[in-house]
């Protein structure tokens, strides 16, 4: 049985700045990292491999340089790494991305059953949280989002019970297998690759599948298959800060002044 982890290479957003003139992301020289939530998805697939002996597969759609992300997954212990790369996949929104990923999973399922698909709850560059659920819908399998604990897995009964981490509460949900699961950071602690695994990963093959392999309709992939597009990206303007009074010389007077100002701007209610 296959257990698949979908991972994405993203720009390190802590280092991304927005060009104030063009309002676009300045990506020059910005290093790429594995989407942090996806590392937890990958780790869970590896734990399934360790515990049940499944074959762990890492799947990533992206440009050829996304291979680095898959090599890292190999160094962490996945059995197979597949890069979905084709110029025709470029410019994809979440809909066409999930079309491609779902097609790849279907392709894998021709070889062996795919029992579980893990995705990060969202990516740190797009922040949509749509691709995981999109895959589940397109494959017609159960979807369990925001999972922070696998409670129980029963292959004979083909059932899985998980805990979902929601705002202010948890939800225990049971679903039928196969299932797509999006994970939050609390689920696990990703493993650190050993050096022998890193060295082996350098020698291992990363399969590259293009649309010749997936044979998707050109209208359902890439820019053509994307009904949404980003028209503009910008940072909200921040007003300049202002130093009120002198807190060191006159703390109580300054505090009173500050409260008055906040009240006058309706920023405080009494």
């Amino acid at each position: 049985m296959y257990v698949v982890a979908c991972i994405k290479q993203v720009p390190d957003t802590t280092q991304v700045q927005i060009d104030p003139v063009t309002n676009t992301l300045v990506r020059d020289g910005i290093p790429f990292i594995v989407n942090p939530y996806d590392s937890h998805a990958l780790e869970e697939s590896l734990r399934m491999k360790d515990r049940y002996g499944f074959k762990a597969v890492a799947l990533s759609m992206g440009p050829p340089n996304a291979e680095a992300t898959l090599r890292k997954a190999l160094s962490q212990g996945v059995d197979r790494a597949i890069l979905l790369s084709d110029r025709a996949f470029g410019g994809a929104d979440t809909l066409s991305t999930s079309n491609v990923l779902a097609a790849a999973i279907r392709k894998l399922a021709e070889q062996d059953e795919v029992g579980l698909v893990f995705c990060g709850k969202q990516t740190i560059d797009g922040d949509t949280a749509q691709v995981g659920p999109g895959i589940a819908v397109r494959l017609g399998i159960s979807q369990l989002t925001l999972v922070d604990r696998i409670e129980h897995l029963d292959f004979l009964a083909r059932k899985i019970r998980v805990r979902r981490k929601l705002e202010g509460r948890y939800e225990i949900v049971e679903a039928k297998l196969p299932a797509m699961i999006t994970v939050v950071r609390e689920l696990n602690q990703p493993r650190y690759p050993t050096v022998p695994m890193r060295l082996k990963a350098v020698q291992s093959d990363v399969d590259v599948w293009d649309n010749g392999v997936l044979r998707l309709d050109a209208n359902s992939i890439g820019l053509k298959g994307s009904p949404t597009w980003v028209s503009r990206i910008f940072s909200p303007e921040r007003s300049q800060g202002e130093i009120v009074g002198n807190g060191l010389k006159d703390p109580s007077g300054t505090a009173r002044d500050l409260v008055q100002r906040l009240l006058s701007r309706d920023l405080l209610t009494i």
Binding site: D12, Q15, P190, Y192
Partner: protein
């Protein structure tokens, strides 16, 4: 009084063969270790051996050192007497009495007095061990047994010669004051045949004690009698050893997980340990109740070698892992407690190198098993992805400069590269030190620049924590960048960057001038390039950074800077310079919580506060963090913690 050689000769031959066999089977295990060159510069090595082993420089610097020196030299001198004794046992005519009388008399006087000195020293050692042992377990049966055995040897010596003198068979009786006393005691009570019998008894007692000692030696800590001298000869000549590079090839083993992953010198070290406990008295981890004890690390390695060695030698794949529980392994908590301060190396009287073993154990755990304290996962990820320990965006590396205009280093246009380091770039407190240093450099008109956003972490913590694979990448990248930019002179503010650039990168072909900021500032002051007012920092006590001090021998420069800046020499803590006590952050401990034992920084700050300082002065960003944290807890608001650069910057005369 001598026995029939036909009786003694087979005994001596058997005992000698047994001794050789025991030494061969034990010391021969050293050959299981990997290769390492420790034979270069024989002249320098002989000098080190003379000073450390024969003159016992380090032994003498501690209490009861003189006592040990006495026993050691008695042992050497009496080796002559004992050699004659054994030889005469199988070949009776071969005696010193064949020598001319002018030689024979004085020689026996020396033997006589030295034997007495040894007897006294052995008694002192036994009393010391009984009343005030160096550590609790040192009060062992084995230790007392060996002292008693040496005592018996001396008493038998006097008994034998006393009986000879009383019987009138010793021609040089007048030259042996102590034996003569024994002779009078015996002669007063015994007849001629009784004297012969008593003499023969003492002879056999002496022979038995000697042969027993010979054959007990290879199985006890007294193996150090054989190993210590060569171990001092084989010492690392360049001070504290720099961890060796590793080769990363598929199928290769990294670090030390099994006893034969160590080098032969590592293994030989374990046989040289005298279990004197000097290392553990200096070790910040042992002192604060952590599970690491450098003496026990060496002991475990020896025990592991004795058990695993023969198994491996027999071609088996079974062996006891080096890291784990039990007396033949080192506990994981112990290897992660090390601050790599090298106090153990500086303290060891026989030049054992404990720290490199711990680094190798860490390497194996990190690289082969990814088994390390959880906090380090984030550190490794941050370093790998953003090249700084906190994972802050590299673009923020230059933010420390604020409004100050800092030029970028450009070969030909700027003379010095200021390698700011991660702490100096990102840590809010250390950024102030960087600014102070920048002001000093500008005030002195130094031509300097920085790498800015292009600067990368030096990788010190990675190497000390055993992540050699990542360190290797950092070192290659940084060395290539230095070469490409034509960097030849570097000023560092952090002793960890300093030691890494100066010593570790040399293995990667970087041979440039690296100057710690304290030394550079001292130079500027001595050349009169800084216009300074005398700084009033109150009474200043100085804390040595391990990587500036013990690892690189820079003790004088920061002290000189403080004296020049404040007008008086800084106060010294009880433990200073070579015996200084770590702040607790070295060896990558900066990034680990201190869950076990007392906190090292509190121990050090308490010591600093003993001298009632107004300012504790440091030269390292890690020390700054640790000492400031300690002060916050113990003397908040009463004592300031300052870097030397900050003290000097306060005295800069602003001319505008």
């Amino acid at each position: 009084m001598q026995p029939d050689p036909i009786v003694f000769a087979p005994l001596l031959i058997c005992a000698s063969l047994l001794f050789c066999w025991s030494c061969y089977t034990r010391l021969g295990l050293v050959a299981l270790g990997g290769t390492e060159d420790r034979f270069s510069n024989p002249g320098q090595r002989l000098k080190a051996m003379f000073s450390l082993a024969l003159l016992q420089r380090r032994v003498l610097s501690r209490p009861f050192g003189l006592n040990h020196l006495l026993i050691f030299w008695s042992f050497l001198v009496l080796a002559l007497a004992n050699g004659e004794f054994l030889l005469a046992g199988i070949f009776p005519p071969a005696r010193f009495s064949l020598l001319p009388a002018a030689w024979y008399g004085p020689l026996l006087t020396v033997f006589d007095l030295v034997s007495l000195a040894a007897l006294v020293a052995v008694c002192v050692a036994a009393c010391r061990r009984a009343i005030n042992p160096p550590y609790r377990e040192a009060r062992s049966l084995e230790a007392f047994g060996i002292l008693a055995l040496i005592g018996v040897l001396m008493i038998a010596y006097f008994g034998l010669h006393g009986a000879e003198i009383a019987a009138g068979t010793e021609p040089a009786a007048a030259a042996m004051p102590v034996s003569s006393v024994a002779g009078r005691l015996l002669g007063g009570h015994l007849g001629a045949s009784q004297l012969r019998f008593v003499g023969a008894c003492f002879w056999w007692l002496h022979a038995a004690a000697l042969l027993f000692f010979l054959n007990y030696l290879p199985f006890s800590k007294h193996l150090h009698i054989l190993a210590a001298l060569p171990n001092c000869y084989l010492k690392e000549l360049d001070g504290i050893p720099v961890p060796p590079r590793e080769e990363f090839v598929e199928g290769g083993r990294l670090g030390a997980g099994r006893i034969d992953d160590f080098t032969w010198k590592d293994l030989f070290d374990s046989f040289s340990c005298t279990e004197c406990g000097r290392c553990q008295q200096q070790c910040p981890a042992t002192t604060t109740g952590k599970p690491l004890n450098p003496r026990l690390v060496m002991h475990s390695i020896k025990e592991n070698l004795l058990v695993s060695g023969p198994l491996i030698k027999a071609g088996g794949s079974r062996s006891i892992p080096l890291v784990g529980e039990g007396g033949q392994s080192v506990a994981a908590d112990a290897i992660w407690s090390c601050t790599s301060c090298a106090a153990c190396l500086a303290a060891c009287p026989v030049c054992i190198e404990q720290l490199p073993k711990l680094t190798k154990l860490r390497r194996h755990q990190v690289q082969m098993h990814a088994d390390f304290p959880q906090e380090l996962l984030l550190l490794f990820e941050n370093l790998e992805q953003r090249s700084n320990p906190w994972g802050i965006a590299p673009a923020e590396r230059t933010k420390w400069s604020g409004s100050l205009q800092v030029p970028t280093f450009e070969a030909g246009r700027t003379e010095y590269l200021l390698y700011v380091g991660c702490s100096g770039s990102f840590d809010p407190r250390s950024k102030q030190v960087t600014l102070a240093l920048a002001q000093i450099l500008n005030a002195a008109g130094v031509s300097w620049g920085i790498l800015g956003k292009e600067e990368k972490c030096c990788g010190d913590s990675l190497r000390r924590l055993g992540n050699e694979y990542l360190f290797d990448q950092f070192a290659r990248d940084n060395v290539a960048a230095f070469h490409e930019r034509g960097v030849t002179k570097v000023i560092t503010q952090c002793p960890h960057c300093f030691t890494t650039l100066k010593n570790d990168y040399r293995q990667y072909g970087l041979d440039i001038e690296v100057i710690p900021h304290a030394e550079f500032i001292e130079g500027l002051m001595r050349e009169g390039r800084l216009q300074l007012q005398e700084v009033d920092a109150g009474s200043v006590v100085f804390h040595d950074s391990c990587y500036l001090g013990r690892h690189n021998g820079v003790y004088q420069a920061p002290r000189a800077v403080l004296e020049l800046a404040t007008g008086s020499a800084p106060l010294e803590m009880r433990r200073n310079k070579e015996q200084s006590f770590c702040c607790g952050a070295g060896g990558g401990r900066m990034w680990l919580e201190e869950h076990l034992g007392e906190r090292i920084n509190l121990n050090r700050v308490e010591e600093a506060l003993d001298s009632h300082p107004d300012t504790i002065c440091v030269t390292c960003p890690y020390c700054m963090t640790m000492i400031e944290d300690g002060v916050k807890e113990l003397a908040s608001g009463m004592v300031e913690v300052r870097d030397v650069a900050e003290v000097v910057a306060r005295g800069l005369v602003v001319t505008s």
